[in-house]
Symmetry: C2
Subunit: 346 residues, 2 copies
Amino acid sequence: SRSLNLAVIPGDGIGQEVVAEGLKVLSAVLPQDVKLETKEYDFGARRYHATGETLTDADADALKKHDAILLGAIGDPSVPSGVLERGFLLKLRFLFDHHVNLRPSKLLPGVATPLAGQPEIDFVVVREGTEGPYTGNGGTIRKGTEHEVATEVSVNTAFGVERVVRDAFARAQARPRKKLALIHKNNVLAFAGHLWTNIFNKVAEEFPEVTTEYMHVDAATIYLVTQPERFDVIVTDNLFGDIITDLAAAVSGGIGVAASGNINPSGDFPSMFEPVHGSAPDIAGQGKADPTATVLSVALLLRHLGYDAEAARIDEAVSADLAERTGQPARSTSEIGDALAVRVAG
Amino acid sequence: SRSLNLAVIPGDGIGQEVVAEGLKVLSAVLPQDVKLETKEYDFGARRYHATGETLTDADADALKKHDAILLGAIGDPSVPSGVLERGFLLKLRFLFDHHVNLRPSKLLPGVATPLAGQPEIDFVVVREGTEGPYTGNGGTIRKGTEHEVATEVSVNTAFGVERVVRDAFARAQARPRKKLALIHKNNVLAFAGHLWTNIFNKVAEEFPEVTTEYMHVDAATIYLVTQPERFDVIVTDNLFGDIITDLAAAVSGGIGVAASGNINPSGDFPSMFEPVHGSAPDIAGQGKADPTATVLSVALLLRHLGYDAEAARIDEAVSADLAERTGQPARSTSEIGDALAVRVAG
Ligand SMILES: CC(C)[C@H](C(=O)O)[C@@H](O)C(=O)O
Ligand SMILES: CC(C)[C@H](C(=O)O)[C@@H](O)C(=O)O
């Protein structure tokens, strides 16, 4: 019989609540013969305040043993900005080489968008997750003086760019429209831009069926609000990906329904799945958080592990649930989770 | 009697057409006693193809002698990406120390926005123009091999950050709402982020009437489409400013009406004013380009030189013209320019 050994990191704020619903739906959708084992880990603000630790070597070793990781949200105003982000979230992406940061954007029926009209939005961003300006390279001299100089170094390697570009081409190839856009700023960031553009064009030769285009990141923000339907698959650098996936989430229904995967396609380390939203401390503990983004992250997790049919059942359940929301009274976190669990089981 | 000695750079594509209308409106609005002198410079693709030059030392010396510069657009598909951007546009920003890159976003009556509802948008972005990842720092090793490494270095100095932050605070102080948002990514780009945040908080003490907030750039893209009315003045780094001002232009009526100023507040070098849009080679020479963004750039130019009343007349003329467009047949570039010239003179 099969097994799924999951690390669960509820984290801070609403993390606990939404993860509970994600697990509820996961249990409901998994075939009978799959033995689900979960182990909960206490990372985030509580742990940091109690011990000063964010993610120790022993923690990483423990996490490594799982098939995948489900994360709720990490972050709390009581912790200085950056400490948990760099000490936990980014540290894990780097340690586990999560170089494919996958962020689908699909405007589902019944979901409100800030855009006029009801554009057809259905694209996926493949954001590089282990390079660019995220490596912590850089420094400060004469700190705190009027002569302070602070640098940030974006590091881009052929190895790192090629593997993520290849992943994006394969995803584009597998989709009906077979379109891939590279987003960068190669007219200004010419060193990194040349590397990205060159590798993109080289790999494109291996995927003759994929239609490609290049777009500057500033222009891309315009298209994301004026013609979001033009996008199918996007591949981009770590920082540009951070920025445009928040915008993409906003136009396609908000971060309440935006899921993401921090993926290591090699399988050498477990991949991590999480909603794009944060810990929302203002509504934590009140049963107000929408667990949909977490449930959709569970679908990404299942698809990553090869449970395609189960992932599709979750996607369908979420679509059906969202389509029926209009005009209905607001439900609690667990009511939404219950409804989705019933749908995927039924 | 007063004089205004203007360098005019029509540039490529629609640049020629829109600049002609900008000058038409400028002549119409200027008081009789102001002697307007203009000198046209031929920069851009044509010059590059003819001579291989983008901006020589002699060119820069000639431009320096003017009170201000009006630019149409630079760029053509026949020139490799980056050559004119770095060789002319950015070179000039650096040579003339255009550290305040000013980009107002105002949704005017009658103007279509891709956003649902008709949000009230009226903010201005103060983008740093001479530092960050735009300095050309960085490099490539093992170019073209599978071991290539390319870096881009963002350079941030206390001197450079403080002067632009101070400029932004002064602008916020002068506006009715007196709000200033710093946009950065200080949880990830911690070296530069600390410098920006620290200086922002320090200068804030001198402006107790200004309400401040900090926002990560990814979150800012969400607010720009869901709550654009929350912004009054934004100050941000060169790259983040590039990205969010295109998004800001898109939500507040499109780049057809987005104006910008590359400003050196010290007056040591002339400031340069230009529409945010590009050279649009696909519609060049057809009289189809909307000169409104250029005309609004002329208003920014006039305000910079102290002609506040004249600048206001242009802003009002543009508002009135836009408000009457709905349902009317499309006009040519020069028809729009004529109409605006009549309004400002009247
Ligand atoms: C929390 C932060 C470090 C993170 C990032 O910048 O990658 C977040 O914004 C995201 O997009 O996952
Ligand atoms: C053309 C390019 C170099 C420029 C920039 O990136 O600054 C443009 O996008 C702008 O915003 O003025």
